[in-house]
């Protein structure tokens, strides 16, 4: 337990000490909210879908959680390159504990980021339907954050350096975001896009967050939760297996 705590604490300290990173990572969600939100707002309205900012904000919150969580998972590559991982791996603690500690650390940072974006979206005109559901929002934020921090760790376990990073950014993180229902409703889409969006776990996270914030949903809380939970279990199993196989 102490091991998990100290790994979590390290992750938080590193995050809150890099102020430029925090500020920098808020730029993108803000831009998306303003440009897309106000840009597509009128079209969205005319199509009879309602207020686009309201629809978009949960997607952008999820985006910032996705990015932050994935990056903090992938940070393991830094630890590996700059030797710190070695020092952790020769300590008498199980790899599973290390993996869980780092994942929870990355997830916490990502949730924080998500909450900041939620606050920003209030400025952009976003309003919550029912504040009583906020607890459910936080639950789904945690699930999304944990899932993608674990995914980042899993990927980082098999990468030796940052050569493959661009690949992952462009062929995994970006598609996860764009093909997820963050920006558009996933009903009535062309078949392939609709299919991809439905197998994308982020869609369920966004759906849960959106449902809890503005009461619009495709799958319902139960399906959202079940899908995310199962993916987390599978990913954590794969991730901790791969992490345990790291040889330096």
């Amino acid at each position: 337990m102490n091991t998990i705590y100290i790994l979590w604490l390290r992750q938080l300290k590193r995050y809150f000490r890099s102020k430029p990173r925090i500020i920098g990572s808020l730029g993108q969600p803000l831009l998306f909210l303003v440009a897309l939100g106000y840009g597509f707002g009128p079209v969205f309205q005319k199509a009879g879908e309602g207020n686009y900012i309201e629809f978009l904000a949960p997607g952008i919150i999820s985006m910032s959680i996705l990015f932050t969580a994935m990056f903090s998972g992938i940070e393991v590559i830094w630890d590996r390159q700059f030797g710190f991982l070695k020092a952790t791996l020769v300590a008498p603690v199980s790899r599973f504990e290390i993996m869980i500690g780092k994942t929870i650390g990355g997830a916490t940072v990502a949730i924080f980021q998500g909450i900041v974006v939620l606050l920003i979206s209030f400025i952009a005109g976003f309003r919550i339907y029912n504040t009583a559901y906020l607890l459910i929002t936080f639950l789904f934020m945690f699930l999304v954050a944990f899932l993608f921090a674990a995914l980042g760790m899993t990927i980082a376990s098999v990468l030796e350096d940052f050569q493959g990073f661009q690949l992952i950014s462009n062929f995994l993180i970006m598609p996860l975001f764009f093909l997820s229902g963050a920006l558009f409703p996933i009903t009535g889409l062309p078949k392939i896009i609709g299919f991809v969006a439905k197998v994308n776990p982020l869609s369920y996270g966004i759906d849960g967050i959106r449902n809890s914030l503005i009461g619009i949903s495709n799958f319902g809380f139960f399906t959202d939760f079940t899908v995310l939970f199962l993916v987390i279990v599978v990913l954590t199993a794969i991730g901790s297996y791969l992490f345990s196989k790291i040889q330096i």
Binding site: Y5, I6, R17, F82, V90, P92, Q247
Partner: protein
Amino acid sequence: MENNNIIQVNNLTKEFDGLLAVDDISFNIKKGQIFAFLGPNGAGKTTTIKMLTTLLTPTSGKIVLNGYNPLEEKYEARRSFGIVFQDPSLDDELTAYENLEFHGVLYKVPKIIRKERIEQLLKFVELWDRRNDLVKHFSGGMKRRLEIARGFIHHPKILFLDEPTLGLDPQTRNHIWSYIKNLNKEENITVFFTTHYMEEADKSADEIAVIDHGEIVAKGTSEELKAETKTSSLEDAFLALTGSEIRDAEAGGIDQMRLRRRARNK
């Protein structure tokens, strides 16, 4: 333990894709000894240390570390040693104190003892005044001292030092060696180190093994090695044993990046 060998290595071999990095080596190290493991770049020194410290699984052979088999009794074996790696392995974004705290927790040193121990170690390596500074502001020598302090956080029986003085000025090198010898004497810690500075091995080591192309080519005290090769200095003995041809350090992209980083940090 029925004998006083704290490290026993028998027929240890490591193969990477058909390449023999370590080829059937055997040696014993007595408790309390300072043991130097010398060899040209790419000879298999670091690979051997990685196998001894549970980071790599040997292809074949047997290791006994403080009475434990590192493959089966991983945690007991890991608790037995501290290690200072060839390249820096601190978290630059944490302070000196936090780095030690982090490792103290990983090694399950109880809180009260941990506090005392960190203070004592930081004073010992003369970094107590800088304990709340981020490690990224430290010089190469300070980082090394901090790493040595970290290696001791859990009172290990064995200390592994992989080129602990690489890239440091003579003042810092002398300093670091006086810490190490001090600890060796006072706490009877067994020290296993590698170096390219022959005078360090000559001055400090009770016993020396020379490894080349993955095989141990000579073992003994500095005097014995000199006598065996009929040379007057350990450096000449080393060259006589390993030849004077320059080796390619078999470093991958990461190692080279680390070397560059280290050069920058100096």
